[in-house]
Amino acid sequence: MIGFIGVLYDGFAYGMLLFLLSVGLSVTLGMMNFVNLAHCAFGMLGGFVTVTLINDLSWPFLATLPIAFLAAALASVLFERVLYRRFYGKSDLDQCLLTIGIVFMSIASAAYLFGTVQQPVQLPSWLRGSVSIMGRGFGVYRFFLICVALTLTAALILMLEYTRFGAQVRAAVDNLRMARGLGIDVDRVFMLTFALGSGLAGLGGALAIDITGLDPSFALAYLVYVLIVVAVGGLSSIGGSLVAAVLLGVSDTAGKYYFPAISSFLIYLVMVGLLMWRPAGLFGRR
């Protein structure tokens, strides 16, 4: 029995994970109107980088996280420069198809390199186990996850609000043509944002291994969750994404705990219902 508090705690940690995985997509989608369904493929890349570093090169877990971030960020810049750029301003359909193609290729490549089994990862001993507070057990790893995610969220918000780069990002989201007209190098801003967002997804993928497991289907399985967060949270709204991710995390965990048979059904039902009520998301501006 994990009880109501336990569900809330696990759900919150899960929501934080979903937030890391999805916040990048929310911002890039809002800025360039580019439907990047391959976002989770970058997350998966981060996960596999961590797995390889720990299992084959026996790096410490913490040291692999920045590498997972960098690998996903670099890969995404490569894709952005070579492929995505040609598709800005094209139809939703073309963008969907291009990125679904990348998802398919990433899944098959991961299956080829790592096999289709779940990847085992040994966490350091100080992240394992749980701490008992007032008779309830709380997983240490989930606490770590929540701390990392909250720190990153604070850093993201501060960066967007108080730095020059953040101001350029906000300008580009609000009005792309105007920002360009004012001499902001929108291409560069977008490339950096894209790298940052994909890097966060890569980090999320690495952190997700212990919670959700990692296998080649990750790129597609979590895409649905990420899209729900983006669609419900609204485009380019960090606060919205955070709230949507936590809502989704808690309701998914609660659904799996209280109604195991129909939990996935409930998630989709909630999503379709919310979208019908507020097509631009709970906090959307468009």
Binding site: L98, G101, F104, A108, A231, V272, L275, M276, P279
Partner: protein, 331 residues
Amino acid sequence: MGLSAADASPLAHVARRAAWRPLEVVFWLLTLLPFWLTPDYLQLASQIAITALFAISLDLILGYGGLVSLGHAAFFGLGAYAAGLFSKHLWGEPLSGLLLAAVIAGLFGYLLSFIIARFRGLALIMITMGVGQLMLEAANSAGKITGGADGLQGVKTWPLFNAIRFDLYGNTAYGYSLAALFLCFLVARRITNSPFGLSLQGIRENSTRMLAIGAPNNAHVRRIFTIAAVMAGVAGALLTQTTETVSLETLSFQRSADLLVVLILGGVGRLYGGIIGAIIYMVARDHFSGVNPQYWYFWIGMLLIAVVVFLPNGILGGAERLVPKAWRRRA
């Protein structure tokens, strides 16, 4: 797809387009060849015809209505399960099962169309995908009725017209699927070459302007969405009746995504694109999946990227560019 100066009126334009071209007649005659040329592959041919019908159904809403759907398998699966349950519990006469599946899928499509017509862009993609996943999870949860992950067993299809049995080699299956495909194609062709079809293309190109000249956009979208749902349901029912089993895979996201690949590969908005795409895709899958099934999706992904980057209008669109302009009469 604009009107050329030679057309005196839109109706003349439509009538000119509706005329059958010799190449089309030849194409449909060629579809009979598998009976003699590849008698061992008739089951595959039947699957191709079913996929082609499914692709035409998507083409109606995507290529003509301009609605992107990532959940079209919902109707396919609904038709498949409707036909399967009907034949398992009530009776296995194929034509009535087909009709029932069409009605149920159409009814569901009609109800859903009221929601669909209100959305565009990302919200529409998400809602269609959400509805597709809802159907999948519903079928998975209702394991007692649908058989869940094991699939629906015990489907028996009676002989066609009480006389022609569905044989092991697929002679009947292919003939039956081909006939259904051809009939639905005629309907789709009639629709796209009608004033209604022109209105749909207008909505696809510029929905605001269509509203401004007084077109009831939402009503048009609802109508074509319902028709497409019926055809997808028929395709699903055909699969059930010719294979005598239904699996959850009929409702999966993968099936919706594969269908997009088929249609994009052939060419969107030209009806024959779906058929050509289905032939190439299914034959290629049959060929390659025997070699290494796990990596099939790598090549599909690459194909998809290549088509989107280099052949924006699919194979038929690319072929059209090669044909001299004087020969061309665009569909």
